[in-house]
């Protein structure tokens, strides 16, 4: 009985001691605080353009889609998609697409400059060849899912807050 109590106390002590050493690896207070939402001025993005902003160390793509790109995104047969999601669920206003610019395969940043957007007019990831469409959905290559849509809100017509 005494041995069990002592052993149990030792186990509790060891576990409690281990916690600070594990917990210290998590983001510290300054890192968390610095991840405050960022503001984007939408007037600066021409139709067809993509702006990259940094939030919590990651790129966020804000894309001003053209009518053609919107139509491409909406006309896809969802049954052919690896990660079926209608375009309407991925945007709040059809002309604005906001996605986290991190490939869902292994974390590279997909290319989005004109001429580098891949076969689906969206993004092309240079690391392992994943191709995304104009809604940020995976169409071809090893990525298992669509580009993630972060939390964002529109402040009026010209400003957007991400985070």
């Amino acid at each position: 009985m005494l041995y069990i109590a002592t052993g149990a106390a030792a186990a509790v002590g060891a576990a409690a001691t281990a916690w600070p050493f594990i917990s210290q690896m998590n983001p510290d207070a300054a890192t968390i605080a610095a991840g405050a939402p960022v503001e984007v001025d939408l007037k600066a993005i021409p139709e067809g353009g993509i702006m990259t902003v940094k939030w919590r160390g990651n790129p966020i793509f804000v894309r001003h889609r053209t009518a053609k790109e919107i139509k491409e995104a909406q006309d896809v047969n969802l049954g052919t998609l690896r990660d079926p999601e209608p375009d309407a669920k991925r945007v709040k206003k059809p002309e604005w697409l906001v996605v986290v610019g991190v490939c869902t395969h292994l974390g590279c940043v997909p290319l989005g400059a004109p001429g580098q957007r891949g076969e689906y007019d969206g993004w092309f990831c240079p690391c392992h060849g994943s191709q995304f469409d104009t809604s940020g959905r995976i169409r071809q290559g090893p990525a298992p899912s669509n580009l993630v849509v972060p939390n964002y809100v529109f402040n009026g017509d010209t400003r957007l807050t991400v985070g």
Binding site: L2, Y3, T6, A9, A10, V12, G13, A29, A33, A36
Partner: protein, 274 residues
């Protein structure tokens, strides 16, 4: 067999004690009179900050100290964190916005924007040289001031400061209090301070009675201002003080129980070896 020799235990204690007697060096003789001990709510193993006092202390810092001194290691968000003045988050948002923070706009041009809770208190002067040019001497950053000043009570009194029941770590705030509230004693020389090493201080007496408007009914006296701002500086230097002492209590209780269990286990194991 008696393993527990009282004499050897005493010797061990004496040895450890002897070793620790050397802990605190004595300040140079010209440091002036020893500041008096004050009653601080945060002293001792169960000591905690007085929120209202920290809030008042912050107002004193903002109204008086901030005109020359920086607080660059403290972020606005800290003021609303647990264990501190605990202003509300909306108060902190409004407060932070009062401070202009240097940043760059989208075109990469340097700008000043309103502060956010995640920002740190901006430096009063861009660098030490600028501070010196403006003030004649560099006003030290106050972030860790309460831990960066001390005084010695001399041998053997300083030994008591580490012992359970008498532990005392508040020498820094005692010094700050003495310097501000009691040090400026020469009416004809505003840069003479009894507690400052060498007595010639670059900071002229920074405040007197009635300088800051308190809204909570606390006395608007130099003595009260100084107590409050000293407490605030202690928090600024040691924001985890409350968390530390609370954790310490739990750790100590656990260790005492664990040590007791081990002691009896040890006795039981050794019982058949005698």
């Amino acid at each position: 067999m008696k393993l527990f020799r009282t004499s050897s235990l005493l010797a061990a204690a004496a040895l450890a004690f002897g070793a620790l007697t050397m802990a605190n060096p004595v300040m140079a003789a010209e440091a002036g009179p020893t500041p008096e001990r004050q009653n601080w709510s945060f002293a001792g193993p169960f000591g905690q900050f007085d929120r209202a006092q920290l809030q008042r202390g912050f107002f004193v810092y903002r109204e008086v100290c901030q005109n020359c001194h920086s607080l660059s290691r403290v972020a606005f968000r800290n003021l609303s964190e647990k264990g501190g003045p605990e202003f509300s988050e909306s108060q902190i948002k409004a407060l932070a916005a009062e401070y202009p923070i240097k940043d760059f706009n989208d075109a990469g041009e340097p700008i000043e924007r309103p502060g956010r809770p995640a920002d740190y208190f901006p430096k009063r002067y861009p660098n030490d040289d600028a501070a010196k040019a403006a003030q004649g001497a560099v006003p030290p950053d106050l972030s860790v001031m309460a831990k960066a000043r001390s005084y010695s009570r001399g041998f053997p009194l300083f030994l008591l400061d580490m012992l359970p029941g008498m532990a005392y770590q508040e020498h820094g705030v005692d010094y700050i209090y003495a310097l501000l509230a009691k040090g400026y004693t020469k009416a004809d020389d505003e840069k003479w301070n009894a507690y400052f090493p060498g007595h010639t201080i670059a900071m002229a007496k920074p405040m007197g009675d009635g300088r800051v408007d308190y809204t909570d009914g606390s006395p608007k006296t130099l003595d009260q201002y100084t107590r409050d701002v000293s407490a605030f500086l202690m928090w600024a230097a040691e924001p985890k003080l409350e968390e530390r002492k609370k954790t310490g209590l739990r750790v100590m209780l656990f260790l005492l129980v664990f040590a007791g269990l081990l002691y009896f286990t040890k006795k039981k194991v050794w019982a058949d070896a005698h």
